[in-house]
Symmetry: C2
Subunit: 599 residues, 2 copies
Amino acid sequence: QMPRGNLETVHHRALVLAQLRQWLDDLRFREAFECMRKLRINLNLIYDHNPKVFLENIKTFITQLNSINYINLFLTELREEDTTSSMYPHPQSSLVQPLPVSAQKKVDVVCDALRSAMESMDPNKFCLSILTAHVKKTVPELDIALQKVHELRESPPTAPGAVSAEEALKYLLFLVNVNDLYEHSLGTYDFDLVLMVAEKSQKDPKEYLPFLKMLKSLEPNYQHYTIDKHLKRYRKALHHLSKCGKEHFPEALKLVKEQNLYSEALHLYTANSAEYKALSCAYAEHLIQQQQAEQAGLLLWRCGEPISALQAFASSSSWRNAICVAQQIPLPPDHLALLARDLAGKLTEQRRYSEAALLLDQYAKDCEEAILALITGAFWEEALRLIYLHNRQDITETNLKPALTEAVGTQTVFLEAQVATFARHRARLAVVREQKQKARLDMLDEDDPDCPDAEFYSEASSVMTGSKYSHSNSRISSRSSKNRRKAERKKISLKEGSPMEDRALMYAMGEIITTVDKMREEVHSLLKALVLFQFDKQAEKLQLAYDDALRVMEAAVPEVWPVNLQIVCFQHQFFFSDAEVLTPPKMRNGVKWKLTILK
Amino acid sequence: QMPRGNLETVHHRALVLAQLRQWLDDLRFREAFECMRKLRINLNLIYDHNPKVFLENIKTFITQLNSINYINLFLTELREEDTTSSMYPHPQSSLVQPLPVSAQKKVDVVCDALRSAMESMDPNKFCLSILTAHVKKTVPELDIALQKVHELRESPPTAPGAVSAEEALKYLLFLVNVNDLYEHSLGTYDFDLVLMVAEKSQKDPKEYLPFLKMLKSLEPNYQHYTIDKHLKRYRKALHHLSKCGKEHFPEALKLVKEQNLYSEALHLYTANSAEYKALSCAYAEHLIQQQQAEQAGLLLWRCGEPISALQAFASSSSWRNAICVAQQIPLPPDHLALLARDLAGKLTEQRRYSEAALLLDQYAKDCEEAILALITGAFWEEALRLIYLHNRQDITETNLKPALTEAVGTQTVFLEAQVATFARHRARLAVVREQKQKARLDMLDEDDPDCPDAEFYSEASSVMTGSKYSHSNSRISSRSSKNRRKAERKKISLKEGSPMEDRALMYAMGEIITTVDKMREEVHSLLKALVLFQFDKQAEKLQLAYDDALRVMEAAVPEVWPVNLQIVCFQHQFFFSDAEVLTPPKMRNGVKWKLTILK
């Protein structure tokens, strides 16, 4: 509702904004400012309208306004938001040079620019505005502001009309919460300043005077530490405490543990000191709890705690380090063998068979177990190497050859299953796509038949529905993006008739292709081993099966991932997970695996 | 020009085609056929118009035509081309069910369908058409046609009007070149048939009779071999020759070498025979020439030629096999050590330091060289393992630590250079894109300003120009696609002002990102080694530098590879090389490399 009987103050906003823009372009800041103040237009526009021009003419702005209050008003109203994109959009025709994107925030840029301009023009006259510029930064520079007040008291300015320390402090107290200011004054470790603020505040001297007296009585480093800790500036506190001598180290260690300041602490003590060792041990304990046992082991080893280091390395399967530490201790040979066997067991569980074999062979001195591990891991050549190294050709007959024929069987069955599933998915995808196409045609019959985008949309219809669905859902939930993606994947189901069945099929087929493509190296080495032991027929069968599988899959790619589907994907800026589904998997045709000698 | 004074024969083609389609839809093949013959319309249309319907009504077609000549005409005119997409496109309204895409060729499908229909209806009556159907297949079945003629002579049909063997042969000679027919008759190993063809041909009996007589005198396997070789059917020839006994083996080996039939030959002899060994050796020699020395080694080893196998393995850096063979021979220890050292040298050249170290350590018994190889290859943990294994902690001070500090320096400098180049490319890309945008605006001012696609096209203008250019060029050259892509890449130059400079910049930036991203594992292991030896400051510097590099590059991806550029790429179905340039490189953020203990 319009204010009644006051029609002369009603202005058409578009006209006003046009006038303001004209003034700002003409650098007539005063007119613009007064008009905006009167009509309650957000003052940020003065900067936002053309940041580059404003920053280049900041002194003109200050001179024209010529008022501490006006400048303070402007500073106080600064917000991070860009009013030309939110409240007062530029008319389309205008061309404003954008500032290069900077890492600095707008408020900080304007505060710093105004402050340095005022400091160079007349620091006394603009004193209060300079203080405002410090205080209004996104991280208020209260320390600096307080320091300036302190300077005013130490050497009062002689210029006529200059602001006194008292006035400045009063003004600061008007801008900032008195408790914040008191705390920050403490943080300058300048007790005069603290007293000054405390006196101006409503605080009870009976409360703060004893505290300040106590602080004054402390050794300077410990005093600073006490203040920093009081202000929750724990890094600084630790830094000061570390200079307080050995008797305060337990207190420092406690602080480090409470505040998780291990890394910082290690920098504050020399590497050979007892404190460094104690810190390293504490840190290692913490890292082990954080599942970072390997790094814990490194800290323990280098600070001379090999036994703990060994435990840390062993628990994180960092077996090379574990073995080194064990030999440095040195562990007796039988213990070393046990350790190696233990580590090998863990590595076997993680399917790291070649590393397990090295441990068994070289440290547990059990070449038979080593060879069996290599055979299990399908490291045929390396198994053969150990067989000849230890002259155990008997294992070739008892284990290696049977394992080879078993492997060729397993691989063939696996390939057949993959190819069958792939073919089933491919056929089903064709059916699903045809159904969707039909549904679209039915819909189009009722609709505008000439809609040029219809084809695009239909092709990706399920993709789009799916994305919208998961999108709205992801907003509600606050889970991590990884969890969200997992959840999305669950939603796309291979069940027949599921709304996103085509996406599910494409995803499944992509996975199959990647799996089968990854087998190149393994198949190659298996083929060589088969040929060596004269299993030519099995090798030929496998080579044929694998070649067929790769060819079938490569040939299906243009059908399963047609180009126009990818366009839709990019046009609608799908989420990462969609792009993943809609991009055809890459096949590593550069990896040669076939044997010429097999037909 | 119209034929003069003969206006009644001028037909409007669209009307004629409409009539033909109607007839074909109504299964009135006879009318359609005669009309087409008269107006010289390609007979393929009878099938192409609706393949499914034609195949389902093939007997109706034969019955209606009721003429051997007509059927032969139709068969003779069959071409692989689809006339409904080349000469006589379907009117847009029609809906023809497409046949499921089949691997078989159209000509073969029609020939086989017609032939089996005629055989079931009346093989005697349709005899000549059946022969035509055999001969007209994409790979003419001359043997079968000849066999049928032979049968006609053996048991002349009694039916009235049946074709005699003589007539059939005459007809075949009219369809097929007489020499082809003669050769194929030889290939049936049926001398009666050969004589029959020879008699009908213009061949001189003085020429062919002695040849046939000579063949007849041979042992059957050797006779078949001689015929197959004469007909250049070398596989069959080898197969027959292999049954001719040991005395013919030299001839077989010669054939194998000449025709490169090694794989086939190995299947024809038992694995333990002298022939098998001789073939294996010959094959190995051939494979070595083809740069397939490893496979040659496998063949030699398994047939009991370890010395040659060792050479083959050594020359292909197949070191595990080489060592195994050497131990099987067995090579004396000092020779084995020399071999290991030699192999290690080759592997070092190929930057395969860890394998070289294994050889040096376990076979050359030179742990110091092994450790140095590992240090050179930046395998810090493995180097340390050997240091402790052989109690050579002195190398830690003399080599390992200096190498670590050198590595951190190299890596930091390398990263700085990559980041600097990346930043330079990024800035330049912005300039180039702005210039292209400006050029587009200038062009649009003269043009239709509302062109909705303009933005798309401009963004990718250089990409498109580039592709067209390289496309036209690639047609001219007949080089392999790999070479072509290399050549294309050369054409896109980083030189300022080059027409495809933006593409070149994107390509270069993609390469930098991939290179830097690949360093994750290496940096991680270097950081751990640095921490272990208390080089925390250097480690922190490297971690910071690498983290910055990764962050800068990840942040630049959306700017360098904007989504709308990818759309254009897919809309215009660019070549692989373009898609490669326009797809942002993937960063492996899943590979964790940072150390918590470094700040």
